[in-house]
């Protein structure tokens, strides 16, 4: 009997695999012409015959498109189902060919969703029984289905809340028709139901597998949400239904949510770009409702999962997963940069927010001998640099504790060192250097000499990276850099409310102004004066928006409200602290900081040296990068904060 079941399972999964790869063979069998070769002179064949040849036919006719970097394959989610996997158009810009491949968002939802669920199902089930598996009693079944249906409805609602985004991504989708409401909710329910059924038996490993979220970001092509966030949202609903939440904190969030939703009366569009799946595409009433609920449920869901599963966490498995994930990320990034078609499939099968980099030399420098950051597979060089840095700190800790490293750790370490260097994340480099030196020298007999030498190297490194001349300027000069940059980008007579405040309070010595001057100094040394200056040129809150913010994951208002002078490229705030200022306001950000300090003081005797290092590392990255605007980094940071500030670190981080 067991053999029959195993055979059935094998047959079933083989069938799934075939189904997963078949769409790229989707030829139009009634079309008698063969695929043409594209050239600088003509791409007419593909303009005249859209959706006639499959991508594989195209590759057979144009084998050089597999490896030549002037070919760019792009998804066209606004295509018919029939056109899935076929060439829907081609164009030449300069010497570059842009090949549009038809995909359909409905099919993407099924196709990508089932693929990721299939891979997730390959993870071994819990060894120890988890109460989250429980579905025997009527109450537990009722809770499960209620949470599942509510999660599906919430994601379904997001389609309508962000209509402007989806109008360009859902082909022949009638937003007013009940048929389509039913279709989209059932599709989401189908995917989530399978995901949750697989997850329930693997919850004990869920946090150990977090490094894989950097690899499988799982954002659906054509949608603005990620598959794996569905797990957290589902448990968010469960935590509310079971009343397992911290009401004190949630009451504050609920009151703030009311303000955020009621305040969002205008409409500003924001192209999610590399934040896709974890940011609102529009600042509007309905979108605010969705993203506020998403935020509340995400925090509660993660906290609930954390409390239920942390006792099964193994740092060794976590490090091993970091190794595997890091090796694959760097390898795929390099292959993708050299082979356009791999870059294309990376985007689809790993659910990336942005296509991988096409510059195939990760060692490249610009004409001023400045290292060019190389992001490879990931959407952001800085964020992936943080990922590699985090792994290297854990690896040093692993060596410090075990006095040895396994093969996987060594290979992962080499890849991560390369990855960190390629990303050119200098802050991460400095912090990794300090922390690894501490671990390597802590119990060494050469500790004293080692620490002095390391101090010297560190000072030299710091002077080199920041620039010696930067330390020679006076505070009076440094503190005005941010203000100068903000003024530079201010357009004509259009002033943001923050610019008006800055101009009116230049030298009045108030507490807020002093804080701003310190922030400006920090910006100067972190090389953020220009980017943060652009932020303040745009930042236009009312008094209450400054105090309470505009709601989580909302950038629309910031980027849509105020016109500024043209910037070279589209620039994000590059600081999660500034994102927090927009989302939660000054009071909200201070409250989060106070909560952090309170938790730290409460648990300070249980926070190990590793815990302290990770806190400093994350805090630095939060200040100088958009780290919390990525689903993967946000989840990782939150998990580490929960662990370090709430548990005995030595116990959780034992090896």
């Amino acid at each position: 009997m067991n053999n029959v079941i195993t055979q059935n399972k094998k047959l079933f999964f083989s069938l799934i695999l075939i189904i997963l790869f078949i769409p790229w063979f989707n030829n139009d069998f009634g079309f008698e012409q063969t695929a043409a070769k594209v050239s600088q002179e003509s791409v007419a064949f593909y303009e005249i015959n859209p959706c006639k040849v499959s991508i594989l036919e195209f590759l057979a006719a144009n084998p050089n498109s597999l490896y030549q970097d002037h070919y760019h394959f792009r998804f066209n989610n606004y295509s018919s189902i029939n056109c899935f996997g076929r060439i829907s158009g081609a164009t030449v810009i300069g010497s570059d060919f842009f090949i549009s491949v038809g995909t359909n968002s409905f099919i993407n939802l099924l196709y990508q969703g089932l693929f990721w669920i299939y891979l997730f199902s390959k993870v071994k089930k819990n060894h120890n029984y988890s109460t989250l598996e429980e579905l025997q009693t009527f109450t537990s079944k009722l809770t499960h289905y209620t949470a599942l249906i509510l999660t599906s409805l919430l994601y379904g609602f997001s389609i309508y809340a962000e209509k402007r985004f989806y109008e360009k991504n859902l082909y022949y989708f009638n937003f007013d028709s009940n048929f389509y409401k039913l279709l989209i909710i059932l599709l989401i329910y189908f995917i989530l139901n399978n995901l949750i059924n697989i997850t329930r038996f693997r919850t004990n490993k869920i946090f150990e597998m977090l490094p894989y979220v950097y690899l499988f970001y799982s954002v659906f092509s054509g949608f603005n949400f990620t598959l794996f966030s569905g797990i957290v949202i589902y448990f968010g609903f469960i935590s509310f239904i079971n009343n397992k939440i911290n009401w004190k904190i949630n009451k504050v969030i609920v009151w703030a949510t009311l303000w955020w939703v009621l305040n969002s009366r205008e409409s500003y569009y924001f192209n999610p770009g590399k934040f896709k799946g974890f940011t609102s595409s529009i600042y509007e009433f309905n979108a605010s409702i969705f993203w506020c609920l998403y935020f509340v449920l995400f925090i509660n869901g993660l906290w609930y999962l954390f409390n239920k599963t942390i006792q099964n966490f193994s740092l060794q498995r976590f490090i091993n997963n970091f190794s595997i994930s890091g090796i694959i990320i760097l390898t795929l990034g390099f292959i993708g940069a050299n082979f356009p078609i791999i870059n294309f499939f990376n985007y689809f099968y790993f659910g990336q927010q942005k296509f991988g980099i096409t510059r195939n030399n990760p060692f490249a420098f610009d004409s001023w001998a400045e290292k060019l950051s190389w992001r490879g597979f990931y959407a952001s060089a800085e964020s992936i640099g943080e990922f590699f840095g985090l792994f290297l700190i854990l690896l040093a800790y692993s060596y410090y504790k075990k006095k040895t490293l396994n093969t996987l750790e060594i290979v992962g370490g080499i890849f991560s060192l390369l990855g960190l260097y390629f990303s050119d994340n200098r802050t991460a480099m400095i912090l990794v250097f300090i922390f690894t030196t501490y671990f390597l020298l802590n119990e060494s007999k050469y500790k004293k000499i080692g620490l002095i030498s390391a101090g010297g190297i560190f000072t030299g490194l710091l002077l080199y990276l920041i620039g010696f001349e930067s330390f020679t300027y006076s505070y009076e000069f440094v503190k005005t850099r941010l203000f100068m940059q903000a003024n530079y980008y201010q357009y004509d007579t259009v002033f943001s409310s923050f610019m008006i405040w800055m101009n009116e309070n230049q030298n009045n010595g108030s507490l807020l102004r002093t804080l701003f001057d310190l922030f400006s100094t920090l910006a100067y040394f972190l090389n953020r004066s220009e980017i943060w200056g652009i932020f303040f040129a745009r930042y236009n809150p009312t008094f209450f928006e400054f105090i309470l913010g505009s709601g989580p994951f909302n950038f629309g208002q910031l980027y849509g409200e105020i016109v500024i002078n043209k910037t070279e490229t589209f620039l994000l705030p590059h600081s999660s602290l500034l994102s927090f200022l927009i989302f939660f306001g000054f009071a909200g950000s201070v409250l989060i900081l106070l909560l952090f300090i309170k938790l730290y003081s409460k648990n300070k005797y249980q926070i190990s040296s590793l815990g302290k290092m990770l806190l400093v590392y994350m805090f630095m990255n939060i200040v100088k990068n958009d780290v919390l605007n990525y689903f993967s980094s946000f989840t990782m940071c939150l998990f580490l904060f929960f662990t370090i500030l709430n548990r005995d670190n030595e116990e959780v981080f034992k090896l």
Partner: protein
Amino acid sequence: MDIIESLCGAYPDSFEKLDIASNPNYVFLNDKNFNTRQLFDAEGSTVFVNSFIECEHYVSGGWDFTPVKNLELDLHNFLLIGVVVTILVQFLIKKFKVFSKE
């Protein structure tokens, strides 16, 4: 561009909307400058139109389907039926423990 312009072309300068439906004896005149177009309804029935006025009248009356759109709508129906059936089958498999090891 609205659906009429996408199927019939740009509105002529001299275009005047007439109440054709209330006039049963109205006869559409061919426009030599207008390329004959084929229109489809939801059932896939087809009609040829020879002037912008005729085209606009038919499209406004629901002849705004194309073979691609019809196929797409059929596929959406199949998708819905497929998902409903799969959810039900999965539910029944679980309920009656079809693949259970016991």
